[in-house]
């Protein structure tokens, strides 16, 4: 996965109406690239066919 450059970060910021400048810019790049790289490395068989879990329902509870 290619790392996002500071220019990429600036452009992404503009897309959500955020003006990101130094000293935040480089640090946002570090943080976002770490997250994206970590998520990109997740390759679990069957992941694509799993339904997402937006909230935790009380399944599997001790009372069931």
């Amino acid at each position: 996965m290619a790392e996002l450059s500071n220019e990429d970060i600036k452009a992404l910021g503009r897309a959500v109406n955020l003006d990101i400048q130094e000293p935040e810019l480089t640090q946002v790049a570090y943080s976002l690239n770490a997250i994206l790289e970590g998520m990109d490395q997740i390759d679990i068989p069957g992941l694509n066919s799993v339904e997402p879990l937006p909230i935790i329902l009380p399944e599997g509870s001790a009372s069931q």
Binding site: E3, I9, L12, G13, V16, N17, L18, I20, P23, E24, Q27, V28, A29, Y30, S31, L32, N33, A34, I35, L36, E37, G38, M39, I42, I44, G46, L47, N48, V50, E51, P52, L53, P54, I55, I56, P58, E59, G60, S61, A62, S63
Partner: protein, 476 residues
């Protein structure tokens, strides 16, 4: 009893003395206020101390009790509340300049429940700004670890940990998104439980990340933790995501009997190569498992390979969700954030929707794996943190991508149960060697809504090991 000794008593001890009218709530509150005056300037655990209000409430409680109206073990007990939890007429700041003048017009349900049980709110506790995981971000100054000034007291409920450990309140409430009850409990040598998601109302709590947030007690003993949790747990029609699951009497569940209980040690979180756990933490958790085995529990190893992605998945979700508390602040008042919070919120604003969605899918698989393990085990054990409390880095900013990646990896330990919604408790399981011993912590997780078993296993261990009894209180 000497007034100066009162703050060092457990809730259970104080409650006995109050019930028998050997001391009054006024005696108790005065003793705590005196200790806050003496110690808080060095720790900075409180943002707001409610001196007059607490004394008035203590006088009312004293009168009620003398008239035969004793309510139970929290009646007249001084409690500290994290400053993310609304208190009627008392400012609630989230430790941020953006909220420094916010005064709620209603109590959070958890605060109302504690007041119904007779507890006295002593003050609002410091925290990290908007419950971020960085110890230096509070607009009201850094909170120190009472075991050693300069050490991280655990985030984000920094004041809840420091104040409870230093005996500035009898018990406290924290809020746990990615580990913010368990972290301070671990770093300050306390017991703290993140309840099941949906067990405790979040009404009147400023959200950090809505699908993760839970309110939990941080206390000096497991029994105090059980008493405090019992007062706040249960369905609340004001929070659509509390579940109508019966609340057992957690204190009664503390039998200390763990014979035949199936205890799994999570392999990946005990492996220095995989998750970076230090030898002293690892050894203390293994010794705790041995103690439980000696009490009749059946201990064995369990592999949860998806543990190794818990941190990044949890941070992807929480980083995105936390911005939604009020996205306009980042555009309208960016300078009012602490630099580190600003960077974190900006990062959360840029996470692509498909990455967030992938994290939600991974969350489902992680939860499935953990629930599967609970078909074989009653509780799971692992360290709360990979290492003892570290020295706080007072310089601002993210220094490198590697540093950011390491923080994600460290989140595997507490993030796992934040992701899955299981109850998880941290209890002190030893101290480091050295001139100033620092606490080490064991994390015990259970099936959803089975806080009773989690608390009982922790209680059995605490009673058998007597770790805190050996080391006493922090050097204050």
């Amino acid at each position: 009893m000497n007034q100066a000794d009162i703050p060092f008593l457990a809730v259970t001890e104080l409650a006995g003395l109050i019930e028998r009218e050997e001391i009054t709530p006024v005696d108790v509150v005065e003793a705590y206020l005196k200790r806050i005056d003496d110690v808080n300037p060095r720790l900075n655990a409180f943002i707001t101390v409610l001196k007059e209000q607490a004394l008035e409430e203590a006088a009312s409680a004293t009168s009620e009790i003398s008239n035969g109206g004793y309510l139970g073990p929290l009646h007249g007990i001084p409690i500290g509340i994290k400053d993310q939890i609304h208190t009627r007429g008392i400012r609630t700041t989230d430790a941020s300049k953006l909220r420094e003048h916010f005064v709620p017009d209603a109590d959070a349900t958890v605060v109302a429940n504690l007041k119904k049980a007779g507890a006295i709110v002593l003050g609002k506790l410091n925290m990290t700004e908007f419950a971020m995981g960085d110890p230096i971000t509070s607009a009201f100054g850094i909170t120190h670890n009472p075991w050693e000034i300069g050490r991280n007291p655990g985030t984000s409920s920094t004041g809840s940990g420091a104040a409870t450990a230093a005996c500035l309140c009898a018990t406290s409430l924290g809020e746990d998104t990615g580990g913010s009850v368990r972290g301070p409990a671990a770093n300050c040598g306390l017991a703290g439980i993140r309840p099941s998601w949906g067990r405790v109302s979040r009404f009147g709590v400023d959200g950090a990340s809505w699908s993760f947030d839970t309110i939990g007690p941080i206390s000096r003993t497991v029994e105090d933790c059980a008493i405090t949790l019992h007062a706040i747990a249960g369905y609340d029609s004001s929070d659509p995501y509390t579940w109508n699951v019966p609340v057992p009497d957690y204190r009664r569940a503390l039998t200390g009997d763990v014979r035949g209980m199936r205890v799994g040690i999570v392999k990946e979180l005990m492996d220095p190569e995989v998750c970076g756990v230090t030898n002293d933490v690892r050894d203390s958790v293994l010794a705790a498992a041995k103690t439980l085995e000696g009490l009749g529990a059946m201990v064995s190893e369990v592999s949860l390979p998806l543990t190794t992605i818990a941190g990044v998945v949890m941070r992807t979700l929480t980083s995105t969700e936390r911005v939604s508390l009020n996205p306009d602040w980042l555009r309208d008042r960016p300078a009012d954030f602490h630099h580190n919070t600003r960077v974190a919120f900006m990062t959360g604003s840029l996470i692509p929707s498909q990455t967030y969605y992938k994290a939600q899918k991974a969350r489902a698989l992680v939860r499935r794996q953990v629930l599967e393990a609970f078909k074989e085990f009653d509780v799971l054990l692992q360290p709360t943190n990979p290492s003892p409390p570290g020295i706080m880095d007072l310089t601002q900013g993210v220094k490198s991508k590697e540093q950011a990646a390491n923080a994600l990896k460290e989140s595997n330990f507490r993030g796992l149960y934040s992701l899955t919604g299981n109850p998880a408790l941290s209890v002190c399981c030893g101290f480091t060697d050295g001139e100033q011993p620092l606490p080490l912590a064991l994390q015990i997780a259970g099936r959803p809504f089975d806080e009773a078993t989690v608390l009982n296993v922790a209680y059995a261990y605490e009673q058998a090991a007597n770790i805190t009894g050996t080391h006493g209180h922090p050097p204050f």
